[in-house]
């Protein structure tokens, strides 16, 4: 075992060599279903507990067992946590992909591989750690059935030793992960110890990377967007959820169901203050949401692109009949099979005008965990305030990956129910006209079924109604109505979350981005400034329709690069049609290969646009 470690040629272990501190990307390759998730989370947790900012991306296939998955942990003390294509430390536990995984490494990277596959580690420019995983796991885990899983925690022990994570950190993280399962915790600790001790003894070469304790995660959270959004729905007072399982949105619903069951029962009767239905398809889930919203529930559904397509007709009904509804779209590549577990921002354009007729919808676009939490609450309020469909555009990267986040603020804003007239209100006001623009904001008043008043009832239909909701096919009635809907949309413009803007007086380039692109864009700006001397301004769109600040931003910067995770620049198109006067300066920097967006590619694409402008591309 003395040959467990191979040093690259040139002797990195020499005296002049200093390891990089707290800046590492670890890529762990395992077969799907091998139970590596908890081991990976323990590793991540221990880094977080050391006070080092850390995030993770789980690249997984549409498969339950056997196909390759990669779990990528990035720790960076400056807080750059976007996806990185570059790997500093590869843990090649999947023989099926090991050759490719190794070929993809750049010189000087570290590699941890099972001794049984040592022949695959045939490069001499890597720091290679060949670990006798089979022997180690056999020693600590007599039950052969469990070995496939237990081997994972052994590499965590090995990595802790190589990177300088104190073993107590790993132990604490194991206790945290297996809080209620003492036996599992014990087995994991023994196995991690075996890996750790083995590496202490055999991995004598200096690691190219080290992790050192900092104090940069105190009070922060590690959470997935689907968890954050489920919490937003819980505290936002959602009373109705209908859903149909689809990755990557299912975990939002499943998380919420757990929370609702625990926290949303009447303290006296223990009865539920919510209803959840797993529908027969997305058409049905959306129909149920509209039925519930019409009757006054705070109703929502969560789905992904394929479900959105099925909801198209219902989306129009919500818009024209003015029925509150919230749809969370956790975007993925689509349609059909192939890349359903890969992230995308490909639904934004479709969602914006989903359905037939002159439809325009409100989209809230969270860019971090805190916004996932807040926008869920906001969407429930806005849907009722505007009496219309409100989308929340999340994506697989936000929804299913582990993000570090500043703590969430407890909700303080009262739940907003919008313009609902009660029986007393009807008695006071006399007449009630469901679709009349009483306040000049295009938003009418509604009554809920069950309101005890002779004037309360109205008849809901998609099109062809007068102010009093009676049937009419008169051109002037309908024109007036859809003009009012357009006014309502203008009111929405002022009510949705404003963009986040970072202007820069010296910048000639303005970057516009949204959603999960934020960390990559922030890091790209840093790189552009530091390595290329390119100053950039930044505007992050947080909702559609866009408001005046976006226009001012486009006006200010001669080159506007819209960063999007789709092929056709869907938001860029929307901006060009909103502001035709700036259409020619609005360019795109697009990323659509299914991987989470990374800073390097954003920087490269923005530089390309700059070169194009100068005619040097």
């Amino acid at each position: 075992m003395s040959q467990a470690v191979a040093e690259p040629e040139g002797g990195l272990a020499g005296a002049a060599f200093l390891p990089r501190v707290n800046d590492i990307t670890i890529r762990i390759a395992t077969p799907n279903g091998s139970g590596s998730q908890s081991a990976n989370l323990i590793l991540m947790r221990s880094i977080f507990a050391m006070g080092i900012p850390v995030g993770a991306k789980n690249l997984f296939p549409s498969n339950i067992q056997g196909m390759p998955t990669w779990f990528i942990i990035r720790a960076n003390e400056d807080g750059w946590l976007a996806y990185r294509d570059h790997t500093d430390l590869m843990v090649a536990m999947n023989p099926q992909t090991a050759a490719e995984d190794i070929a993809g490494l750049s010189a000087g990277s570290m590699l941890v591989i099972n001794e049984a596959q040592r022949t695959l580690a045939n490069r001499d420019d890597l720091i290679v750690f060949c670990v006798p995983f089979n022997a180690l796991v056999a020693e600590v885990c007599p039950d052969t059935r469990l070995r496939k899983m237990v081997v994972n925690i052994i590499y965590v022990g090995v990595l802790a030793s190589i990177l300088g994570i104190a073993f107590e950190e790993i132990e604490r993280a194991i206790d945290w992960q297996f809080a209620k399962k003492a036996k599992a915790a014990e087995l994991n600790k023994t196995a991690a110890r075996a890996g750790f001790d083995w590496a202490q003894e055999h991995c004598l070469v200096r690691s190219a990377h080290r992790l050192e304790r900092r104090n940069k995660t105190h009070g922060d959270l590690v959470i997935e967007g689907n968890e954050a959004m489920a919490l937003g729905m819980l505290f936002g007072g959602a009373t109705f959820l209908a859903w149909y399982p689809i990755t990557p949105s299912s975990s939002l619903c499943e998380n919420l169901i757990k929370y609702l069951d625990k926290y949303r029962r009447d303290p006296e009767t223990n009865q539920a203050t919510y209803a959840v239905i797993q529908a027969e398809d997305e058409l049905a889930s959306m129909g149920m949401v509209l039925g519930a919203g019409w009757a006054g529930a705070r109703a929502f559904t969560a789905t992904s692109g394929p479900g959105i397509s099925l909801m198209a007709e219902m989306a129009g009904l919500s818009y024209f009949a003015e029925v509150p509804a919230v749809v969370v779209d956790v975007q993925r590549m689509g349609p059909s099979t192939g890349l359903p577990t890969r992230t995308s921002q490909g639904d934004v354009g479709k969602a914006y005008t989903l359905s037939h007729g002159d439809c325009k919808h409100v989209l809230l676009i969270p860019g971090n965990m805190k916004e996932c939490f807040e926008f869920a609450q906001e969407a429930l309020d806005l849907a009722e305030q505007l009496q219309t469909l409100v989308f929340i555009m999340s994506d697989l990267d936000l929804g299913m990956n582990k993000w570090m986040s500043e703590p969430f603020a407890p909700p303080t804003k009262p739940i907003a129910r919008g313009k609902v007239v009660s029986a007393e209100g009807l008695s006071r006001n006399g007449e009630f006209a469901r679709y009349r623009d009483v306040d000049g904001d295009g938003i009418p008043y509604r009554t809920l079924p069950g309101t005890q008043h002779p004037n309360a009832a109205y008849f809901t239909r998609g099109t062809g109604h007068t102010e009093k909701a009676t049937y009419s096919e008169k051109p002037e009635d309908w024109e007036r109505n859809i003009d009012r809907l357009a006014r309502k949309f203008e009111s929405a413009r002022a009510m949705v979350p404003a963009p986040v803007v970072e202007n820069d007086a010296s910048a000639q380039v303005g970057i516009i981005a949204y959603g999960s692109s934020d960390p990559a864009v922030q890091e790209a700006r840093h790189t552009l400034a530091r390595e290329h001397g390119v100053a950039t301004a930044y505007l992050r769109v947080r909702a559609l329709p866009v408001n005046g600040e976006v226009k001012a931003f486009c006006e200010r910067y001669p080159l506007v690069c819209v960063v999007e995770q789709n092929r056709d620049g869907q938001v860029a198109s929307i901006l060009r049609s909103e502001y035709p006067e700036f259409a020619t300066r609005i360019k795109t920097a697009l990323h659509y290969n299914g991987l989470p967006i990374d800073a390097e590619s954003v920087a490269r694409k923005v530089l390309h646009r700059i070169a194009e402008e100068k005619g040097t591309a």
Binding site: L221, A284, L448, T451, A457
Partner: protein, 356 residues
């Protein structure tokens, strides 16, 4: 418009003169809606009248009713009755989903859903089956004319095999029997009737309203414009001449404290959730409405031999309604105050700690 009354009026309050009123002081007119725009003689209008009468006679507070429908001539009729109730003429085939959502948002309302055979048996078949499976608390009425009226007479999935459409097309495919399907999906109230048999329709409607859970009424309702010809099994003439009631029915609402005398040999009494009773007096056919297998066999036989049995095919109180099963609070979800909807600050901090 009459002023609404929240509680039944006592005899002393009932005006001595003026139009006849029901137990909550409303006239039959108060249960009417907008004027129908359907073809003169359309079966759907007869059902509308029966609905008006049933609700009037039961003395249901119209503010406590929600009317839902899909799209079709039949679905339009939600506008023609109960003008003081909220109504939702939604999307083709999707009424069951809208009704499910609404019935959970406000479990205290009576939900009445109107659909057509195209709406339910074709585009909405899946939703129908699932709503019934879940046992949502909805009275689901199919106004079955064997064709698509609103799109001008195309065949629907309930048209019987071998019958001829007005266009000359002869039906080759097997028909969908919505009553069979409802029973198979676990429905506890399944009835078939004929729009022209207004007495039976009305009795069935009252019973359906008293039932907690999904109640399915498949009512043959002739389309006099597109499917009323010789060779159709959904024409007025065919339905008139072929209808074979399974029993004579009577409905005794819970608020009527009448004791009925009946012959145990010929009459069965069904007691409902709210204490209302249905009496079924045997006719030529000896059908036990509590026997699921018998009901299915009867429907199979009817299909084989093109028989038109009407009445209460199956009744059971075994399954809880969806809102009961979900153990919802008594107060409608729709009007719960913030104090019931937003967990406390303590809970917030407790949850947050789990992520730190």
């Amino acid at each position: 418009m009459t002023t609404m009354l929240t509680s039944p009026v006592t005899a002393a309050e009932v005006p001595a003169k003026g139009p006849k009123t029901n137990r909550i002081g409303l006239t039959q007119k108060d249960y009417q809606g907008a004027e129908s725009t359907l073809c003169a003689g359309c079966g759907h209008d007869a059902i509308t009248s029966s609905i008006v009468k049933a609700f009037y006679e039961l003395g249901v507070d119209p503010h406590q009713v929600a009317k839902l429908s899909g799209i079709g001539c039949s679905s339009k009729t939600t506008n023609y009755f109960l003008g003081q109730s909220h109504g939702f003429n939604s999307l083709h085939g999707r009424m069951a989903t809208i009704a499910t959502g609404s019935s959970l948002a406000n479990r205290n309302l009576i939900h009445i859903g109107i659909s057509g055979d195209g709406d339910t048996a074709s585009i909405g078949l899946g939703h129908f089956a699932h709503m019934v499976r879940r046992n949502a608390h909805v009275v689901y009425i199919i106004e079955n004319n064997g064709c698509y009226g609103l799109t001008k007479g195309q065949a629907s999935a309930t048209a019987d095999r071998g019958t001829r459409m007005k266009s000359g097309v002869t039906i080759q495919d097997a028909p969908v029997d919505l009553c069979t399907m409802a029973i198979k999906m676990g429905c506890g109230f399944v009835a078939r009737s004929f729009s022209g048999d207004t007495q039976q329709v009305r009795t069935l409607l009252k019973a359906a309203i008293a039932h907690r859970g999904a109640a399915v009424l498949d009512i043959v309702s002739p389309c006099v414009t597109f499917n009323n010809h010789e060779g159709s099994t959904k024409s007025v003439a065919y339905a008139r001449s072929h209808e074979e009631p399974l029993h004579e029915m009577d409905f005794i609402p819970h608020f009527e404290n009448i004791s009925v005398e009946y012959d145990e040999g010929t009459t069965t009494v069904v007691t409902m959730h709210d204490g209302s009773r249905i009496t079924l007096t045997k006719l030529a056919h000896d059908h036990d409405a509590h026997d699921r297998i018998q009901a299915l066999t009867l429907l199979d036989e009817a299909r084989e031999k093109n028989l038109f049995y009407t009445g209460l095919l199956y009744y059971s109180r075994e399954r809880d309604a969806l809102d009961d099963r979900l153990d919802l609070v008594d107060e409608p979800l729709a009007t719960l105050p913030q104090s019931k909807l937003r967990p406390s600050l303590d809970v917030f901090h407790q949850i947050m700690q789990g992520f730190q």
